[in-house]
Amino acid sequence: MLDKNGIAKRIAKEVQDGYYVNLGIGIPTLVANYVRNDIEVEFQSENGVLGMGPFPFEGEEDADVINAGKQTITTLPGASFFDSSMSFSMIRGKHVDLTILGAMEVAENGDIANWKIPGKMVKGMGGAMDLVASAENIIVAMMHTNRAGASKLLKRCSLPLTGVGCVKKIVTNLAVLEITEQGFKLLERAPGVTVDQIKEATEGHLIVEGAIPEMQI
């Protein structure tokens, strides 16, 4: 079974040379730490920066240079700043190659819910609805089950949707799965996790074909 950093490490393998990548808040932010350093990748943050670098050294924080999680950041050579409209032109216009974001629920048809729990939590969708409505390549990073142990991979989402039929791939603490017309197709198992454990933790339709390899991280 993987921890959050393990999930991020596995997702980092999906990042290819020449990609512009938008990372969501939470586990997705960790992905930047594990991308191979022999490839060229630029990270976009929807508040208006392309070419994000690591966090600043203490004493070098700039209130005018933050990421979408409102954390202080730095920029790398070749970086650019722009306004919100242009930022979402990059996103809706399909100029960003890969979007990695978290989710509360994903359905077997690719629907995603991650912005609202009616009556409990209403923080807003931020840029998530724009990202999922437009990106061709969306990977969800999340735990396979919630804190109560209930599956987050469902037949149908129970929470208000962020987007419909948009998720392509999911990496959880237990598995890598692909969304197909028939449901969740199991691609890889996390180290030490059995197919039965994954079946147990998946409420939606799980497709298991042949031997399922263990993730190489």
Binding site: G124, M125, D130
Partner: protein, 233 residues
């Protein structure tokens, strides 16, 4: 040169009154018009409808207007990190319209640019699209979103000149340029008000035509919401 310069924040906010609709630039606490907000608190105008990506934190940014119960409605994309906001929203004192961040930007830009509405794919099939017109283009569904209508846009830039030309810094740019010219009156506050002619015309982000009033902001706290650092090796 047509001068947009006003002496101070009091002059810049001439004409604001109860029940108006205001736009505020900023993302989180970065690039917010701190001086205009402080003056609105002092004036005590109420019944405000505010368009802003976020709602500040409890004791800063638009949180200051929420504390004084000056806001009736917020249109935003993300409103976490603010307990007073949550309390007023759940008790029904505050009306809240949550919309996708890109839609917020484009509804500003539409107002700025003379478009009555725009089609966006964001939110299609979700509760955000409920009751809105939808249309198919090339096999994909889009939602019709209307341009905002606002009385004042309050924006903050790094540098500006008397002609109203603006230059922004870093990610403090965010929604500020999109809101310039998107309301009946755009009020720009700047950290540095420089002499006309000293800004390179090639480097101006917003031409002065979009700005009606410009003033030098006397005080900027520029609070950092999530101070995140790495250790030196």
């Amino acid at each position: 040169m047509i001068s947009k310069k006003v002496a101070n924040v009091q002059d810049a906010l001439q004409g604001v009154s109860d029940n108006m609709t205001f736009m505020f630039g900023g993302f989180g606490l970065s690039g917010i018009p701190e001086n205009a907000i402080a003056e609105l608190v002092r004036l005590g105008v109420k019944g405000l409808k505010c368009i802003s990506n976020n709602a500040g934190v409890d004791d800063f940014g638009l949180g200051l207007l929420l504390q004084g119960k000056q806001i009736d409605k917020m249109t935003s994309s993300y409103v976490g990190e603010n307990d007073e906001f949550e309390r007023q929203m759940l008790s029904g004192e505050l009306e809240v319209e949550l919309i996708p961040q890109g839609t917020l930007a484009e509804r500003c830009r539409a107002a700025q640019s003379g478009f009555p509405a725009v089609y966006t794919p964001a939110g299609y099939g979700t509760e955000v699209a409920e009751g809105k017109e939808t249309r198919e283009f090339d096999g994909k569904m889009y939602v019709l979103e209307y341009a905002f209508k606002a009385d004042f846009a309050f924006v903050k830039a790094w540098k500006g000149d008397e002609a109203g030309n603006l230059v922004f810094k870093g990610t403090a740019r965010n929604f500020n340029p999109n809101m310039c010219g998107a309301a009946k009156i755009t009020v720009a506050e700047v950290e540095e008000l420089v002499p006309v002619g000293s800004l390179d015309p090639n480097q101006i982000h917003i031409p002065g035509i979009f700005v009606q009033r410009i003033f030098h902001g006397e005080r900027y706290e520029k609070r950092i919401e999530q101070r995140t650092v790495r250790q030196r090796d």
